[in-house]
């Protein structure tokens, strides 16, 4: 179950994790992009976490809307509008709810995927964060319970690592063509961490990957 408290805790934990992983994500982006994905994500989720600290929100919709706005105003780059879209979709899906069950979480994730596709005009397999979001949200949809959350993390992690072996055809890494093969997509890694922290906040006991470049 996702509550106002667990979602707040998730934002804080994800912000902290991104701060730790900032250099790893920057380094990955350095190889196949412009070297700022970690800095962008850490800055954005720090802003979002600070924005919601000490605040009370009427429902998950209001909380997610606040996070979306904070991301939109602080990230920039490609990841800003994309992660902001995720939280806007969450806000729509979970409007007026103070807690949601895993079916509703799965619907929120599916809507987020749809939003990401619409915003970024990418398909699965183009070496973008969509490669992670799609299988992970499908895993939860297939089994909307605690185990499904863990399965989502597993497929997110797997997809993030698999992004190493394909060339990018969307985003900045696409300009490198075949030279983008051999490096994991930074947005896919930050997304896998998203699922790790979301699962840890909701179901607990997630073994966190120690991501390396």
């Amino acid at each position: 179950m996702l509550t106002l408290e667990t979602l707040q805790a998730f934002i804080q934990a994800y912000a902290a994790r991104l701060a730790e992983l900032c250099t790893v994500l920057d380094d990955l982006d350095n190889r196949i992009g412009d070297g700022d994905h970690g800095t962008n994500m850490a800055r954005g989720f720090r802003t979002a976490a600070d924005r919601i600290t000490g605040e009370t929100f009427a429902d998950l919709g209001a909380l997610c809307q606040a996070v979306a706005m904070a991301l939109l105003a602080s990230v920039g780059g490609a990841s800003g509008p994309l992660y902001a879209t995720v939280f806007m979709r969450f806000a729509q899906s979970w409007k007026d709810c103070t807690n949601v069950d895993f079916e509703q979480v799965a619907r929120g994730l599916a809507s987020a995927c749809e939003g990401l596709r619409a915003r970024g005009k990418a398909e699965v397999g183009e070496k973008t964060l969509l490669d992670v979001w799609t299988p992970a949200s499908e895993a939860l949809a297939a089994q909307p319970d605690e185990n499904g959350m863990r399965a989502a993390v597993a497929s997110a992690t797997k997809a993030a690592l698999a992004s190493r072996d394909i060339p990018a055809t969307k985003g900045r890494a696409a300009y490198l063509g075949e030279r983008s093969v051999g490096t994991c997509d930074p947005g896919s890694i930050s997304s896998a961490v998203f699922f790790e922290e979301l699962a840890d906040a909701t179901v607990g006991g997630v073994t966190k990957t120690s991501w390396q470049t």
Binding site: G35, G76, A78, G80
Partner: protein, 329 residues
């Protein structure tokens, strides 16, 4: 790489403070990273921007005959939609606003979100997306070509159209004509270092260069051994000519753009070869711009942009401009 800076997280903010301190004809919208003209004019407004680190782009092109506002993101990071929206609101004189966006996923998404918000507020808004870099083949990668230094020609020519009082649809048509006719390609001799990370964007061997480089420190399409300036120019120019459809008898404008650390002497050595090659093809250079117009921090290297001119573009290109980085009578 050593940086002349204070705290890395103040890099863009302090740069913008320096820009407005140095140029009284510019001002900054308080609390934003938006630079506008101190004395706005009733006309269609032009807004551009993108990540910082490309100076003088884009704040250096704010002024008479060019932009009305420039929005600066963090280094190499597109500005956020709320910043772009502040710029649009500040410059709209009721005659509409044209956004000049470089074709990067991040820039396009952030500027488009701002355009949507501005439309909702009733502002007439149009956008053009510059995609002049011929290094990346459009066909293979669905992302399309990047926008690089050719963008400055869009600022100049669409800016002159707006300054002349043309309406939003006309200014947009002219901007799109420039975009259709400008082709660019770049190369790097050395990487650059983003202040926040402190690490070089890539590592090159003593004799290596990157061909087909963008303007965000990302590696190029491939790596080669360093060759003579004339040979490097030929590699870039051949590809540009192949894409541009420029033929014998055409009139063009050329930009030989330094990426940051390459001395002007070497830009002129490279331009010499461009002029020689175009002369041999009987392509007339109506105007040549040699210098730093769209940089990538302290990257060593350059790009060539070739703009095919017709009478309309030529007269707008020749119109006066008075901005920190581009002035002509």
């Amino acid at each position: 790489m050593k940086k002349l800076m204070n705290q890395p997280d103040q890099y863009v903010d302090q740069m913008l403070e320096g820009i407005v301190a140095a140029h009284p004809k510019l001002k900054r919208i308080a609390g934003t990273q938006v630079i506008v003209r101190a004395h706005p004019k009733a006309k269609v407004a032009l807004v551009s921007g993108g990540g910082s680190g490309h100076e003088p782009a884009h704040a250096g092109y704010v002024g008479e005959g060019m932009l009305d506002a420039a929005v600066s993101g963090s280094v190499f990071t597109s500005p956020t939609p709320d910043q772009v929206l502040s710029a649009i609101r500040a410059v709209d004189q009721g005659q509409g606003v044209l956004l000049v966006i470089k074709n990067y996923t991040g820039d396009v998404m952030n500027f488009e979100m701002a355009a949507d918000l501005a439309s909702m507020e009733g502002i007439a808004i149009e956008k053009v997306i510059v995609a002049d870099d011929v290094a990346v083949e459009n066909s293979t990668y669905t992302v399309g070509q990047r926008g690089i230094a050719g963008t400055v020609f869009v600022h100049k020519i669409a800016g002159a159209a707006a300054e002349a009082g043309m309406d939003l649809a006309t200014v947009k048509r002219i901007a799109e004509k420039v975009i259709a006719n400008v082709h660019s390609m770049g190369m790097a001799l050395s990487p650059c270092t983003v202040p926040a990370s402190g690490k070089p964007s890539f590592v090159l061997g003593e004799d290596e260069v990157e061909i087909g480089i963008g303007i965000h420190g990302e590696p190029g399409t491939h790596r080669e051994n360093l060759r003579l300036a004339d040979e490097i120019v030929d590699t870039l120019l051949d590809r540009i000519l192949a894409h541009s459809g420029v033929v014998t008898g055409d009139q063009v404008a050329v930009m030989l753009n330094g990426l940051g650390a390459t001395p002007q002497s070497e830009l002129y050595i490279a331009y010499r070869r461009v002029a020689e090659r175009l002369g041999a093809h009987n392509i007339a250079v109506h105007k040549a711009l040699v210098g730093e117009y769209m940089t990538s921090l302290e990257m060593a290297g350059f790009s060539i942009s070739l703009l095919k001119l017709d009478d309309e573009l030529m007269s707008l290109l020749d119109a006066p401009a008075d901005t920190p980085a581009y002035r002509q009578r």
